[in-house]
């Protein structure tokens, strides 16, 4: 792990707490520190653009990580250097809900921008799960939702055309950002990924991604440039769903 520790308690001003799993864990305290009722251990850290978690490094996960600010992605690395992005992490996401039960991560995490993260104490969360039925249910739904997102990602990879795969990838991301109130303007969303990153998320080559992005822009569907995605025509964008679950 490559993190720089941070001392201040940033949860008070967090813009995504109320729309993420954190709302179930952290009391809304008006002060600059957690309320006494909040008995969770929290370590806040910042990292620049690099690999912050490496798979199969023992005992890295003394507790689950929450991405507080910035963008990152979870990925699988092949011995020959190939990689597959498994999921994009946006502010408010846990790296994986299941890391509460798996101390040795079987994935790596790379930050796409400068990020701030919070590592929560495993024992504290597990204790709360046994005491609070609402939290227990919310955690169960979070796990289900993580699996559902991964399944949708798999299905998206069965799209035949490069443009369909990219549209599917962006659609799912825009939906998640909208639910968390993350947007630049009505039809513009942040997307700080390189074409190589998008290629690794969609199983395409960077050249195929470049061509597909050109086609999508030319056909007035979406524009991906300057670390942003602009929805040019909402109807066309939403209609581009040729491989949805029936």
């Amino acid at each position: 792990m490559n993190f720089e520790k941070q001392l201040a308690w940033p949860c008070r001003d967090c813009s995504v707490r109320d729309s993420s799993f954190c709302r179930n864990l952290i009391d809304r305290s008006p002060s600059d520190s957690p309320s006494p009722q909040n008995q969770l251990s929290q370590i806040f850290m910042r990292a620049n653009k690099h690999e912050v978690v490496r798979e199969n490094k023992e005992r890295q996960f003394s507790g689950p990580f929450v991405l507080c600010k910035g963008w990152a992605y979870r990925f699988y690395r092949f011995p020959d250097g190939r990689r597959q992005i498994l999921s994009v992490l946006i502010p408010g996401d846990l790296f994986s809900a299941f890391s509460l039960y798996s101390p040795n991560p079987n994935f790596s995490v790379q930050s796409a921008t400068e990020i701030s993260v919070c590592q929560m104490g495993r024992d504290g969360i597990k204790q709360k799960l046994t005491e609070n039925a609402t939290l227990f249910e919310a955690f169960g739904r979070l796990c289900s939702s993580e699996i559902a997102d991964l399944t949708s990602t798999s299905i998206g990879l069965r799209h035949g055309s490069a443009a369909s795969r990219i549209t599917d990838f962006v659609q799912r991301l825009v939906k998640r950002m909208s639910a968390r109130g993350i947007r630049i303007s009505a039809n513009v969303f942040p997307l700080p990924f390189t074409q190589t990153d998008i290629a690794d998320a969609t199983g395409l080559s960077p050249e195929q991604v470049a061509d597909a992005i050109h086609d999508l822009r030319k056909n007035g569907v979406i524009d991906l440039s300057n670390d942003e995605v602009t929805v040019l025509d909402a109807a066309k964008f939403e209609y581009c769903e040729p491989f949805s679950v029936s």
């Binding site: 039960y101 796990c143 699996i147 991964l150």
Partner: protein, 244 residues
Amino acid sequence: MNNSKTYSPPRSGCDSCILDGLGLCNLAIDCGRERPPKGGRANITQGEKTQNAKRTIFSQNEPVETVAILCDGWAASTLRISKGRKQILSFLLPGEMLTFRALFESGRYHSTEAITPVSYRVFDQSQFRNAMFASQNIFDRIMAGYSEERCRADQMIVDLGQRSATERIARLLLDIWTRLEKSGKVKDNSIAFPLRQTHIADATGLTNVYVGKVLTAFRNERLISITGRTLTMLDIDKLRRQAA
């Protein structure tokens, strides 16, 4: 316990059952594998069901009222996707939960289909959840199984995104082999293997023809042999290298 009155033979999945030793399954109590809790029976409404091969056990989108454990036979979690195509999300083996997602959801996201004749045990969903909430031990065991489902979902993305046909099929065979090996179901370097080419095709996003070609190549390279419904492992190290 009076076994002469209540004895039921254990099922093939009992040895590797995710619920083994948790005191939740009345079958395990009846067949003498587990000591009965106070009152003599587990505190969850439950029952055993069977289904024929190639029939649906649970349908996509139907309401969830139960969680189920596969006791005998093989099944598959399947998702219908548009254009008449199907994706097999995972193969389910004896002793495994049919889907962990059923624990916390009100509707079934995917179907479960029997590959062979199956028997499975159903538990009331809300009572099962209450048992998890009440016991750290039960919660930890279920979450460990659920984590494996997450790993399989990750690997499906890697399969469809990056792996070649050879890598996908080799990895699938090794995954099944490893799971059966853990539960002691490898005999004479062979496992029961009721999958058809069409199952492998639906699980790996390939065509039946392509699957046939890869399996023939594996046979010709003497990595595996498939005879009837038995798979024999001939060179697991080489197959591992093929799986990347």
